[in-house]
Symmetry: C2
Subunit: 554 residues, 2 copies
Amino acid sequence: SRDIRAPRGPERTCKSWGAEAAYRMIQNNLDKEVAENPKHLVVYGGIGRAARNWACYDQILASLRELEDNQTLLIQSGKPVGVFQTHEDAPRVLIANSNLVPKWANWEHFNELDRKGLFMYGQMTAGSWIYIGTQGIVQGTYETFAEAGRQHFGGDMKGRWILTAGLGGMGGAQPLAATMAGAVSLNVECQQSSIDFRLRTRYLDKQAATIDEALELVKHHTARGDAISIGLLGNAAEVLPELVRRAKDGGLIPDLVTDQTSAHDLINGYLPRGWSVADWKSAQQDPERHARLKAAAADSCAAHVQAMLEFQTLGAKVVDYGNNIRQVAFDQGVQNAFDLPGFVPAYIRPQFCEGRGPFRWVALSGDPEDIYKTDAKIKELFPHHAQVHRWLDMARERIAFQGLPARICWLGLGERHIAGLAFNEMVRNGELKAPIVIGRDHLDTGSVASPNRETESMKDGTDAVSDWPLLNALLNTAGGATWVSLHHGGGVGMGYSQHSGVVIVADGTDAAARRLGRVLVNDCGSGVMRHADAGYETAIACAKRNGLNLPMIK
Amino acid sequence: SRDIRAPRGPERTCKSWGAEAAYRMIQNNLDKEVAENPKHLVVYGGIGRAARNWACYDQILASLRELEDNQTLLIQSGKPVGVFQTHEDAPRVLIANSNLVPKWANWEHFNELDRKGLFMYGQMTAGSWIYIGTQGIVQGTYETFAEAGRQHFGGDMKGRWILTAGLGGMGGAQPLAATMAGAVSLNVECQQSSIDFRLRTRYLDKQAATIDEALELVKHHTARGDAISIGLLGNAAEVLPELVRRAKDGGLIPDLVTDQTSAHDLINGYLPRGWSVADWKSAQQDPERHARLKAAAADSCAAHVQAMLEFQTLGAKVVDYGNNIRQVAFDQGVQNAFDLPGFVPAYIRPQFCEGRGPFRWVALSGDPEDIYKTDAKIKELFPHHAQVHRWLDMARERIAFQGLPARICWLGLGERHIAGLAFNEMVRNGELKAPIVIGRDHLDTGSVASPNRETESMKDGTDAVSDWPLLNALLNTAGGATWVSLHHGGGVGMGYSQHSGVVIVADGTDAAARRLGRVLVNDCGSGVMRHADAGYETAIACAKRNGLNLPMIK
Ligand SMILES: NC(=O)c1ccc[n+]([C@@H]2O[C@H](COP(=O)([O-])OP(=O)(O)OC[C@H]3O[C@@H](n4cnc5c(N)ncnc54)[C@H](O)[C@@H]3O)[C@@H](O)[C@H]2O)c1
Ligand SMILES: NC(=O)c1ccc[n+]([C@@H]2O[C@H](COP(=O)([O-])OP(=O)(O)OC[C@H]3O[C@@H](n4cnc5c(N)ncnc54)[C@H](O)[C@@H]3O)[C@@H](O)[C@H]2O)c1
């Protein structure tokens, strides 16, 4: 069994920093600190792989070692299929993963090809070699909460409180993200073990023993403007209605309500009202009990959503966090379930309209100091970007690096290329010990078509139009990114999304500076373009402010 | 109403020949000699458009006139959506047309978006500005017949005869293509008007009055090795069984049998046995009679396929030409209908394995002499390529130019870039009066995933894997093509295919030569790679012969 760790430092194995960056990043994706199941080449997200199999993996590394600075390696669903002559300003690697002709774009056909060794699931950043661990989920949740602060609470979440439930794999990021955003949070979770895990890793600050104590703590800390997270053991379908009752009696009303229980999976994901966790677990194991479990879970989801809707009536901001709980409640007869907006249209899209999204970078030196220097540089470059400063401070303090030191930081159009060029300069003048790799998630402003998530409810109804991510990939290739990828499926599964990735290396050369100046503007610029085309006023204004040339927008 | 004609000659309106080439080719696509319905911007193939609407069309031209040599214009389903900074070696235009996230990739959703002015059908070469009229269908059919000659008859079709039916819009190319391939052809058609049209335009040489006369003519001309096409008025579902009967009685057995009646459309496309054409037409107009018409047509298709199968047993080579007649017969109970191979796996794929496909070029001078000079150059460059020489001679003689003079000619890996570089040299040294635009159909070796047509029955079962056309588009962008396109739908409709196009201009400069040398190798090289990856021995051999670097193929 292999124990993979990317090479570090300023000495290259490959013939160019472009190839070297890919060489290190595919290995970093499979570092056991980073990947969920490196033995099976699985990086994250169920079966998202970095390469199709070990033979392909080995050959990818071998081909990268040989790759000339005017050649391009093609990867087809995790397999290195060809090396072609291009030029220095072209990508070193081009990747297409998991793409199927639409009528065949389903799990059955995927599985058949996968079983035969002919295919691979690329997820988003697994097959495109720019996954860097769990920092991303904390940051994404932080941005959601921070945007709520900007939209509703005059700038930030200070003195505000967030009510949510679910402290599982992804939901466990909520208390830390809320704290980073400056809010108090009350996190309802039905399993003590999940609470314990988050207390131990300092994602959660404290646990309240009762609802009364929880509300006392909320009151105390919001009054003082503390950013503190509070866990509460309980069933959300019981706790939320009780909190509504108290609120109506003059009690506290949360500022923001959301939920990350796994309501999308009614067998394994949602504890029904009145059930013990032990009984729930045993029913999960017994197929004969599944029908009753499902019915009970769905009924409880309905009560849960009902309470969320009542909070909305009482003046709280309430959003669905992509766990399908609205649909479950709606199917149970809660006709106004979809009065709760999704988190993307509510809080992510306004940022996409400005080209903001999950920008990230990695220090090829392997030295955490390099990242801290880039953190400081960002603060220097954007002295008035309070949300970013808060994020960088908290991230440094609270988030452990996994694999090569890396930083995620949402920057927008007009900012990303400034950062990229500054990093390139720091590599050139020796401030940093080795080049910096710059990339982003596929979930970004111009790079994804996914009607059930990122492009839900687009203003003009173009949720399903996937011309945009394709143009994004072509444009990044034309601009000279170091590698570019086109994937299908990603987080929402076969048939439901198409998206593209981009990575570009800052190696301190003039040539890299020219490429960075193009690619980091074009990549998020094409997202602003896509939203301007759909009619979002803020995107149109952002395009004008940044001097984008959008011929049909006058 | 507009009357569009592309500018001609050596003077540019735009700032570079790259932009100028796009500027002229979009206009040429809408020339009334070229387009089927230019008033509605429809180029061909039902609703395949060159631009979304007239406002978009005007703005595309305006943006191209302004475009700098280091900028790239983005086209999203026929609309010019952005101009971005790239570099001189990057494409001037990047196009994505009609792409939808798979679960929404159907006609209903397409139509909804199209009605709202949010979308456009790009077909293959309509929305990517490299359609050049009907020369393509003649050439495609010619290549099919010529390949049959190579595979079965020791090199060519001389002295051989082809039996087919249907002289409609596409099928009418069969007699001319057969003649060009050196064969005698017997073409059964049930409408005298269709026969008359093809006689008038010299696509068909003569008409036989009876089956006896037809067989006499076949015998006479095959014996002499003439390439002569013969029409016969009749119903294929009656004529073919009769020909089988005679063959079994010691009569003539055709060398190759195929069919291009419109069996895919049982209301409008296939005349049932025993019906008069007049009765057929009136039944088409009367929905009450449709059920009976369909049943009768299907029953006749079964008899037709039965006869084709009997010819197969008698030793003839028999192929389906993509009109769905096998499926119709199978549904009628002809259990071995699929013993007849499709024409792609049988005759097109062997060429794709060598990178051969519908290469084409256009003279921006507008002068037919420029094309004749390129014809002569091709013959000079490939002195032993008999099939190509025959095609070029016959094409010059028999095919009228539509719009800008153009030539289609199937060349393969190792040939296309030789041709492109030679043309570039001819532009440089003044032999040609203006630059040459070089492109191809989307139906080509490395550029399409279409499980019901181009990628039917791939050896390894990867018919539906669309990573390949995406990689093809990315690679051509990386190599520096002049424009690159990614389309969905094309000839087989929403949900059934994804494909990419490429166009590159030879303007006589050194920079163009470098780009041509890369792109024309990579584009068809990636097709050879795709087929080698699927396990085709000839593709593997071709890759080795041409020195392709395919890392997993040892
Ligand atoms: N759309 C997005 O981008 C996005 C992002 C993050 C999470 N999500 C969704 O959020 C959900 C949670 O994700 P996860 O990875 O954390 O799941 P998970 O299954 O790991 O965690 C769910 C947690 O909820 C708890 N829980 C279940 N029922 C409960 C109840 N009635 N009351 C209180 N707690 C209860 C469980 O004990 C568990 O700890 C999923 O549906 C996921 O799809 C979506
Ligand atoms: N897959 C491909 O790439 C490809 C290429 C070319 C054609 N095709 C298929 O070939 C078919 C023909 O295309 P088209 O554009 O020429 O169609 P069309 O409708 O214009 O022509 C069909 C012709 O067949 C004749 N016909 C109908 N029934 C007949 C019968 N029983 N006996 C004799 N003649 C009969 C009609 O009179 C008509 O002239 C279509 O199904 C098309 O899809 C497929």
